[in-house]
Amino acid sequence: MADMSVKVCGVDFKNPIIPASGVFGYGREYEELFPLSKLGGIATKGTTLHKRTGNLAPRIAETPAGMLNSVGLQNPGIDHFIETELPYLLTKDLVVLANIAGSTPEECAQVAEKLDATDVHMIELNISCPNVKQGGAAFGTSCDMAAEVTRQVRKVTNKPLVVKLSPNVTSITDIAKAVEAAGADAVSLINTLLGMRIDINTGRPILRNNVGGMSGPAVFPIAVRMVWQVANAVQIPVIGMGGVSSGRDAIELMMAGASAVQVGAAIFTDPCAPVRIAEEMNDWLDAKGISSVRDIIGTVKPW
């Protein structure tokens, strides 16, 4: 049994596996299938200042080795999260990363300020949602805007601040450096890649929002590349995600430089994927005689 614990921004995780924001709600539905305490952490559903109804359906489309979604940040608002969901999650012996979003930097800061007064462990600031018209990815695709929203959130909270980056940019390392300089304690990447499918019989896009965020095994090599580039460009920790569906994938992303790993679309295929992935990682480490998962972080030997 290898030591699976990791530390990110001073926060201890019993293992590096975290269900990614959006796939896992606030955890309640999955507790029916396994104890949430088996997870290193949970990144909760992206939550905004006020309740959001989200986009019209269809919000989901399948793609080769992946999928598109355009949920559009449907959520009950931060007050509901703090009153109802957070107290429940704080009893579950796992790290809670509250994923937040907003239409303006001020709105993001207001949400973060409310969370600062709670016992939440970390804040994950989403500057990369591709499915909302204002804010979302608009923050994440410009260094200036990414830095500005990070700065405003940083001002109102001392909680460890993870900024979640968009891959839909020319240089993700420039964005990562900008948010690091603006006070981020860590970055998480990659959010979904903007994609589109069309029903050729009707000529209509499958998603009612026309476009949506692509995830699943098909995006994994892009995630590995971006995690590797960003880990080499910044001093702060990187939380990796994007198409991870096995323990081997998670090991690979950690070798690329991730200190912890989020799991998204794989949960739709196998609802117990986060638990299975942690077990598979442990088996691999044991087979290799590696005593701690921390020993593999950033160990890729590039040519």
Binding site: G22, V23, F24, G25, R28, E29, Y30, E32, L33, K45, T53, G54, N55, L56, A57, P58, R59, I60, A61, E62, T63, A65, G66, M67, N69, V71, Q74, I206, G216, P217, A265, I267, F268, T269, D270, P271, C272
Partner: protein
């Protein structure tokens, strides 16, 4: 247990019409708790998303569930390749099913095409109180008629081309029954235009109506919020989710 995920043995497989398959699955813990109108979420090897398929039969004594599904695309084609004795990966039973009510009046069960299978467990519940009105493109697409007859339900078959039963849509015999004041409730599953028609007839005649909807779905348990459906509850517009709040909704709650 509300739902669970596991791999279960396919006890029986048969093709019951062109590209329509029936699986009987041995899954005692699921069969103990499954309710009419609920669905199972099936993994298709090689695909990211599971496929939601409604439950067509529940036998808690034998510990089996039956599903009947049509090949609609590559994912369902992959599931259809499974054979008797193979393992099928299911997350089940899921969703909010049909209301099983006490009524002295008749109950109409309306099925359109591949929307027909989830009506069969209701026919088993209501027996001779049920009138199963099902509609298909033509006689060769008609399924489950004998199964409905065995439940004691009155069976009315409609086909679009008149090649079997009544030549026309299910809404015609439903309208006649509704006008006679014989119906205590109507339950329906099928294509959207059919559901709209059924809901309109029920509204006009003041009959309680529940409908089963489908939507492109990811998690199946209410976490990802992918399968949104516009509804009204307590006078407030609300995006409900087909997988958890549905698939069965009160017709009056759905904003079409």
């Amino acid at each position: 247990m509300k739902y669970t995920q596991g791999k279960y043995i396919i006890a029986e497989k048969s093709a019951i019409a062109r590209e329509i398959y029936s699986f009987t699955i041995s899954c005692p813990e699921v069969a103990q708790v499954a309710q009419p109108g609920q669905f199972v979420h099936i993994r298709a090897n090689g695909f990211t998303l599971r496929r939601p398929i409604s439950i067509c039969g529940i036998d808690p004594v034998k510990g089996t569930l039956r599903i009947v599904f049509e090949i609609r695309g590559e994912g369902t084609a992959e599931i259809a390749r499974l054979n008797k004795g193979d393992l099928i990966d299911m997350l089940a039973p899921l969703g909010h099913g049909f209301t099983l009510m006490d009524t002295d009046k008749k109950v109409a069960l309306i099925g359109g095409g591949i929307g027909t299978p989830p009506m069969l467990p209701l026919a088993q519940h209501y027996g001779s109180k049920a009138v199963a009105i099902t509609g298909f493109r033509n006689s060769s697409a008609a399924i489950l008629q004998e199964d409905f007859r065995k439940t004691g339900a009155e069976v009315v078959l409609c086909t679009d081309d008149g090649s079997a039963g009544i030549h026309g849509f299910v809404t015609e015999p439903l309208s006649e029954l509704a006008a006679k004041g014989e119906l205590g409730a109507v339950f329906a599953c099928g294509p959207m235009p059919m559901l709209k028609g059924v809901a309109a007839i029920c509204k006009e005649n003041g009959i309680y109506c529940e409908i089963s909807l489908e939507e492109r779905m990811a998690c199946g348990i209410g976490a990802c919020l992918g399968c949104a459906c516009r509804t009204v509850r307590n006078d407030e517009e609300y995006f409900a989710h087909v997988c958890k709040d549905g698939p069965v909704f009160k017709a009056e709650e759905v904003l079409w």
